[in-house]
Amino acid sequence: MIRDIAKIIKYQMHDNLRSKWIIGLFLFYSAASYWLISFSGDSSKVLLSLLNITIILNPLICIVFGTVYFYNNKNYIIFMLTQPVNRSVLFSGLYFGLIIPLTLSFLIGIGLPVIINLNLFLDTLHILSALLYTGVIQIFIFTGFSFFIAAINEDKLKGLGISIFIWLFFGILYDGLILFLLQILQDYPIEKIALGLILANPVDLGRILVIIEFDISALMGYTGAVFEDFFGKSLGTFISFLSLTIWFFIPFALSLVKFSKKDL
């Protein structure tokens, strides 16, 4: 089974790495990274801008690209399924065959200008690695979402709409709701709620993983035992890391189940 998945991944990657979109994405990431570094020349400023690319733009790109990719390849997917191939095998092959090129274009695109200017980042390598890990997991998660959307819904335009909504929800609206909730409940002990809500959103999790490194001085400026335990020790990093990794399986597993049962 793994061998069959690997075969499909091989051809999917072969296809995707030649796709003008993936190449364009790589160029975009490297241009953005290069421009940020040479324009500001300050590692913390670069990292903060990269954070926004990583947790805001990157998910949008992945979810839209993934959705369009799945719809556009529908006939091919059907053809593949008339061969003696399991659905889960094909689905995994398609998924990894897409996220690997996406990940490569992200990592190399962002990373190449960083490596060239590595001495600028020597003190912030831990933040940088948290950032890149976050970015990669966002790719997994939001590509997973896009496949899920394509699996539950036949209409391409509607699928695109849902994609953008999901991005908007996790990227912006969710935080707005948290703020609203925390403001309403501000007279109660709400640290646990605040942290719990954050753990339920992959974008927030990715952000936490980065700011836990970057803004630790501010986060430790809040004297609450829950926060102190979470952010002060490696507990927070560990939990965020774990949750984010769990998050990676959720959309993938959901869409795998959905796709396996679906009438094509």
Binding site: Y11, H14, N75, L81, T82, Q83
Partner: protein
């Protein structure tokens, strides 16, 4: 040999197949025909495992289809509109399917030769014409010498020369004992190949028998008129 018993399929409230019992005999060419919405596409998709949520039982060469994919190694399928990853070359597509089927020898490459596909091998899929894609698709369907061939509007989009090459191929394979199933919602130029005809109408089998019997049954003098008269009488 394909055996189908009590096959029901509905999409939401729409009953597409209403309890079909069918035997598609081995070594014969069977022509599935019916108007749009009669259920023939759904029937083919169920045979290929693309549609999974149905009730009833289906046996392919004696084994029941139960979600496993291995039975499809006995089937060659040629879709109406072929589609492959556009940045792969034709050669890659052939290699991909070979790898999926895990079969690199004992191949039937007759169509690759006859369609002159060797000169297309290094072209990327996105640069191919619709006709060439159909040729690739046809060549893939026969490549692994499957015992059952399912061809969906196989000659649509092919030029007359290629079309007759394909027709000859179908005849040869049939003579070699292959079961061949093709569909069309119009009467195609392949009708003269068919020995059996299955007429689907509103999710039921209206007629299942030899071509001659249908013509006798309807009292017309050829297939096209027979079919037309069936449709008209029913509508």
């Amino acid at each position: 040999m394909i055996t189908i018993s009590q096959l029901h399929k509905s999409y939401d409230l729409l009953n597409v197949l209403k309890g079909i019992d069918l035997k598609i005999p081995e070594g014969k060419i069977t022509y599935i025909v019916g108007p749009n919405g009669s259920g023939k596409t759904t029937l083919i998709k169920i045979l290929l495992g693309l549609v999974k949520n149905y009730s009833g039982r289906i046996y392919v060469n004696g084994n029941e289809i139960d979600g496993e994919s291995s039975y499809r190694s006995q089937i060659g399928y040629m879709p109406q509109h072929a589609s492959f990853p556009e940045n792969l070359t034709v050669k890659h597509v052939f290699e991909l399917v070979k790898e999926l089927r895990n079969r690199y020898e004992d191949l039937d490459e007759e169509l690759i030769a006859k369609f002159y596909l060797s000169k297309e091998m290094n072209k990327r899929v996105k640069t191919l014409s619709g006709g060439t894609l159909q040729k690739v698709s046809a060549a893939l369907a026969f490549l692994f010498k499957p015992s059952i061939l399912i061809l969906d509007e196989p000659t649509a989009g092919l030029d007359p020369v290629s079309s007759s090459i394909l027709k000859d191929k179908i005849k040869t394979e049939n003579n070699a004992g292959k079961t061949i199933l093709f569909t069309s919602h119009i009467v195609s130029e392949l009708e003269d190949l068919a020995e059996n005809i299955i007429f689907l109408l509103d999710g039921n089998i209206y007629f299942n028998g030899s071509l001659d019997n249908l013509i006798v049954h309807t009292g017309e003098h050829n297939l096209e008129r027979s079919i037309a008269s069936v449709m008209l009488r029913r509508l």
